[in-house]
Symmetry: C2
Subunit: 306 residues, 2 copies
């Protein structure tokens, strides 16, 4: 059965690719983005052209993850049209690059807003419907940085993504009893094929950044860029992330993987998360809450309990 | 040689204990807190009584981690008095308890502010002095939740602490070339001996929280509390965290541990962090940046290079 899916940050990068791949797989996909009548009007046209050319059910929808009102309106529109919503994909995100000390607290707050509070707004808009259904899937596009090796100069972004990953892990356990499943997608660094690195924000305190450049970190930004160049294989194909998301969604309910790593750089996140996810599962068993590890089928449960 | 030390959130809990233990160890300790003339005036009196009774150099200082101006003023006052600042201890923090979905994005933002942006404000106030000195130590009081097993219903706090831990890891590498060392203290859950659990904030959206209580998560808050009760040993002594901080600071420069775990619950964070810290160190070696793993002694370096 085709799923009704909404994905955030679908104007470019992983989001645009995943939206198209999911539509090709036969799902009804809402490629959500902000400024559909402004900056992203060309992306909306691209979505429409793609849907027509491939005869798939792909639709752009206005959703600004920074606004609760916008999240509520978009989700409500989808639910009104279809009477249900099957899959949320938290993909919107933004990156910054530079010495940690040169970012203002306000910049760190803004990064947390776009990468983490964004997911909270969409969850608060959509989860009541998923809970009513007693069935659903939440997919989080995390980052290998939250567990694996990382170069410096990306601190505000890594802090936000680590926060997002932690939120995903806790939400997973608070949703299983409602019959809602969670999959966390963990991409490594893809320096090409997305705008993520190209559009990375700069520190607001340029004087502070200049102190690093005039001191022992002279030329460090280039060192980090060369470090990435050395580990991201030249043939790293960003579309494998989209393919992984399709595979997760097309896996039967209750059988979907808790995490999927797609990391051509092999930064070690897969090793660390294998340990941490296991340790966390053992912890729940230890305190008698191991039922939280698998999504409960509410409909089935109430039948068998009644 | 006694160190000049400032510790945030020192009105109670780990912070108050660590400030006293460090003063007893012979250091000059600024126990920083907000509202020294208001809500925390009694804590200031306690600090003064303690210093007099034990004949130690323990001083309360006004520092509101939510205000850059307040952070700047406190740090400046310390530097003006002593001409230096040796150790920063990021300890201020706050917890909330309840279903993730029932917290507003604004509550998540506020948690990030107190637990993470707080450290950024203090760093921006103090690091220029530490960098000028070419010597210093930054101690972060993280949380085992950022790597180990966790019960649900603490999502906004866990997300913030995971962000703080990620920030600490990146900062560590951006400070070593300045001759600044980093130690991350990782306490497990201490449900007694601090106000952390007792003062935990509640979700603002009580209607949403009530849906969880009326649904499959009925009684869940109690289940989580019982889970903690089952794993926190009755004799878990919160003062061991303070003792661990003293030990880190009294270890010679360049020899301090990157992480110290103090977790009577043994939630697995020590296992996960051993893997992640190793994987992250290997990553830096792989991209040719392994010099970032140890603090450089700037004075020595410039002598040998000139």
């Amino acid at each position: 059965m085709p799923n009704i899916i909404v994905i955030t940050g679908a104007s470019s990068g992983f989001g645009a690719l995943a939206a198209r791949a999911l539509a090709r797989a036969g799902h009804t996909v809402y490629a959500s983005m902000r400024e559909t009548e402004g900056r992203n009007a060309p992306q909306v046209k691209e979505v429409e052209k793609y849907a027509a050319a491939h005869e798939v059910d792909l639709r752009a929808i206005e959703l600004d993850v920074l606004s609760q009102q916008s999240c509520d309106a978009a989700i409500q529109e989808i639910i009104t049209r279809h009477g249900r919503l099957d899959v949320l994909i938290h993909n919107a995100g933004h990156m910054v690059f530079g010495p940690a000390e040169a970012f203002t607290p306000e910049q760190l707050a803004a990064l947390y807003d776009i990468n983490v509070l964004s997911t909270q707004r969409v969850n608060r808009a959509a989860l009541p419907q998923l809970r009513r259904q007693g069935r659903g899937l939440v997919v989080w596009v995390s980052s290998s940085s939250s567990a694996g090796g990382t170069p410096p100069y990306l601190a505000p972004y890594f802090a936000a993504k680590a926060g997002m990953d932690a939120l995903a892990v806790v939400y997973a356990r608070e949703l299983t009893r409602w019959g809602i499943e969670t999959s966390i997608i963990v991409p490594g660094a893809f320096t090409g094929g997305t705008n993520h690195f190209a559009h990375a924000g700069a520190p607001a305190d340029q004087a502070r950044a200049a102190e690093y450049e005039a001191g022992p970190y002279a030329g460090f930004a280039d060192q980090v860029r060369k470090g990435f160049a050395a580990i991201v294989p030249p043939d790293a194909d960003v579309s494998v992330v989209a393919d992984a998301i399709v595979k997760v969604i097309d896996t039967p309910f209750g059988k979907r993987p808790f995490r999927v790593h797609i990391d051509p750089t092999q930064d070690g996140a897969e090793v660390v998360n294998a340990v941490s996810d296991r340790v966390r599962a053992e912890f729940l068993r230890r305190i008698g809450l191991d039922d939280l590890l698998t999504p409960r089928a509410l409909a089935t449960r109430s039948q068998s309990e009644n």
